[in-house]
């Protein structure tokens, strides 16, 4: 999370006590994964699917965009809307990733997982209860590939910005100067 409240030592300690780093895979500064599978409460499957469909390009994406840490995220209802699969690839460690979310967007987490079985009554503000819920849906990831494991989201954005600036500079360099019109050039040749 880029701005707002700082992650407190207390929150981070609660998260760390669940030893997430021993569970989820990390390939570098720019490549960690979280894969979670939870059962959806009976009768809530269609609602969960429709909420996911509606959330595209709205608060969800804005919230993720603002996180500046998430490379890719997939969230889908599967098995005839009975289960909820959540896969995320992000920078840093799973500890800081979840601690960030817990502090900055508890309401968002409540919306994402609130229709799942076992979600704590106190929601994401119940840090310990939320972490127990998260770990209950842990899916071991056997193979995790990252093409650029050390490039963080911010680095990728910066590199793309540099590419654009370089191209603009190249374009300026490659432009024929006004003095070198075709006519001028043929005069030079004649001389």
């Amino acid at each position: 999370m880029s701005a707002g409240k700082a992650v407190t030592k207390e929150t981070l300690e609660v998260v760390k006590s669940f030893n997430l780093e021993g569970l989820f895979k990390t390939r570098g500064a720019g490549a960690s994964e979280v894969t979670l599978l939870h059962n959806i409460k009976e009768g809530k499957g269609a609602e969960q699917r429709e909420w996911l469909e509606a959330v595209i390009n709205t608060d969800w994406e804005l919230s993720l965009w603002g996180s500046e840490e998430i490379h890719f995220l997939r969230a889908c209802t599967i098995n005839n809307d009975t289960q909820f699969l959540f896969c995320s690839n992000f920078d840093g460690t799973p500890d800081t990733y979840l601690a960030d979310f817990l502090v900055h967007s508890p309401e968002f987490l409540d919306q994402v997982w609130g229709r799942c079985e076992g979600y704590p009554e106190g929601g994401a503000r119940d840090f310990k209860g939320f972490m127990e819920f998260i770990v209950s849906g842990y899916v071991p990831c056997q193979a995790f590939f990252a093409a650029y494991p050390d490039a963080t989201v911010k680095q990728v954005w910066r590199a793309l910005d540099w590419e654009k600036k370089t191209r603009d500079f190249q374009r300026e360099l490659a432009r024929p100067t006004p003095s070198r019109t075709l006519e001028e050039s043929s005069k030079q040749r004649a001389a």
């Binding site: 190249q170 374009r171 070198r180 050039s185 030079q188």
Partner: protein, 470 residues
């Protein structure tokens, strides 16, 4: 047709035995100097089938001519999906055709970059709708014979009624073999396994093998019912008799803005070499194409043109790009390196031999006189068809990924084919090793006048369609 061969996947060994079934000008080009594409709409299925039955008797197969003596004219036929529907092919048979073919050139226009000034709304002669049903291509060295064949087709159509001529597109090869932009054309063809004896080709036209030799392409890349480069058959309709020995063609009539190309060439030479003198323009033209305008490949002559190499069968096509991974000699975005990257993509996920095209076509319109830099308002370009067994994996893939993008070759995403690309705002060309190694502000030099996807059936299938057998 031998019924037994239609039950199994055919291979190169079967081709020679099936030449009387395969339409001509697919495996081997005719090399006639003149061609005419006549395009018809079928308004009455029964009449249309009767007319097609007449026409099918005149269709030229791929059978070698006795004593290599070319007949005075040849005729070939393709039918669009809308044409097959108008000829009342059964719903089962129709539904078996690949979806891309069913959508037709109009349905696929956006994906193929036929948008804006190239969009189907602007297409001529009833193209751009579902109204082009049957294409009959007539070839000869003598225009009078083409006229006679055209009249015969029209009279036959008039006799049955319900068949309307929509357009006639003429093309002819220039005597010097040089196309409108000034490049020598027709230097490369695609060799097909099993046809080596009837159509021997120069080294370099097929696929590079690990030992450095070149292998022909599997027939299934260009003929239905045959094994392709992935060891299976291309998608095809049922029954098998309808598909086998047939293929698909992508017809495109393309306008070439020669004056704009010449002006840009001078500007580009000025940008890259600091001069637009003739030598630098020729060098620039070679970097765009990957060949000097004489046809001599850059890979054999990086620094200056050696026109004799274009006529040397051991050199004209015999090269790869593995020694030039960065494109210092032949830019990675040069036209011929895009249309056939040869060994340049070895080690990547892209299998070049699954994306090859056979091009058959001729120029139309008068040449713009040498040195003229202003457009004379005359229509000119190329009217050609591309042969492929799988329109989606071959024609559309090449157009969408290799012509319109740069990513496949490790170039900027927006880098496009310098000659036939869409020249969007991001368009550029990377020219490593040149005094100015990048070039921008490409203009659009070609415009799609019209196009359609046609099924080119075997002779048996053509008669079967006319007899409403499928």
């Amino acid at each position: 047709m031998d019924a037994s061969v239609t039950d199994r996947t055919l291979t190169g060994e079967d081709i020679v035995g099936n030449l009387d079934e395969i339409q001509g000008n697919i495996i081997k080009p005719y090399t006639y100097a003149q061609q005419r594409g006549l395009f018809f709409r079928i308004d009455n299925g029964a009449a249309g089938r009767q007319w097609l039955d007449h026409v099918s008797a005149r269709v030229t197969p791929a059978t070698p001519w006795p004593d290599a003596k070319r007949p005075q004219s040849a005729m070939n036929v393709g039918i669009s999906f809308f044409g097959l529907r108008a000829l009342e092919l059964s719903a089962d048979a129709l539904s078996g055709f690949p979806g891309v073919f069913q959508a037709g050139a109009v349905g696929r226009a956006e994906r193929n970059g036929d948008v804006g000034e190239r969009s189907p709304d602007t297409w001529q002669d009833g193209f751009g709708s579902e109204g082009i049903h049957v294409a009959v291509f007539v070839f000869s060295d003598d225009v009078a014979l083409i006229d006679a064949e055209s009249d015969w087709l029209r009279e036959a159509a008039e006799r049955v009624g319900g068949v309307t001529e929509m357009a006639a597109h003429d093309g002819r090869g220039f005597e010097d073999g040089v196309e409108h932009f000034g490049y020598r054309d027709g230097l490369t063809d695609v060799p097909i396994e099993g046809t080596e004896e009837i159509y021997p080709q120069t080294p370099g036209a097929g696929t590079r093998q690990p030992d450095g030799t070149w292998a022909p392409l599997k027939p299934g890349e260009f003929l239905l019912g045959y094994e392709n480069e992935s060891g299976s058959e291309p998608p095809a309709p049922e029954p098998r008799e309808l598909a086998v020995n047939g293929t698909f063609i992508v017809y495109r009539k393309i306008y070439q803005d020669v004056a704009a190309f010449r002006r840009f060439l001078a500007q580009a030479a000025e940008c890259v070499y600091g001069s637009s003198n003739e030598d630098d323009q020729e060098r620039m033209a070679a970097k765009f194409m990957g060949r000097w305008r004489s046809g001599c490949p850059l890979m054999h002559a990086p620094d200056e043109d050696r026109p004799e190499l274009a006529d040397d069968p051991d050199k004209c096509n015999n090269f790869g790009y593995s020694d030039d991974p960065d494109g210092m000699i032949c830019p990675r975005g040069a036209h011929i390196r895009r249309m056939n990257p040869r060994d340049a993509l070895d080690g990547t996920a892209t299998v070049v031999r699954r994306h090859r095209l056979i091009r058959r076509g001729l120029e139309y319109g008068p040449k713009l006189p040498d040195g003229v830099l202003e457009d004379d308002g005359r229509d000119r370009g190329i009217a050609s068809y591309l042969v492929c067994a799988n329109i989606k994996d071959q024609f559309e893939f090449v157009w969408q990924e290799w012509v319109n993008k740069g990513d496949f070759a490790g170039l900027p995403m927006g880098e496009q084919d310098p000659i036939i690309g869409p020249a969007s705002a991001e368009g550029q060309m990377t020219l490593p090793g040149e005094p100015m190694p990048f070039l921008f502000d490409f203009k659009r030099f070609i415009t799609t006048r019209c196009g359609e996807y046609f099924f080119m059936p075997s002779l048996t299938a053509l008669k079967g369609i006319a007899a409403q057998k499928y």
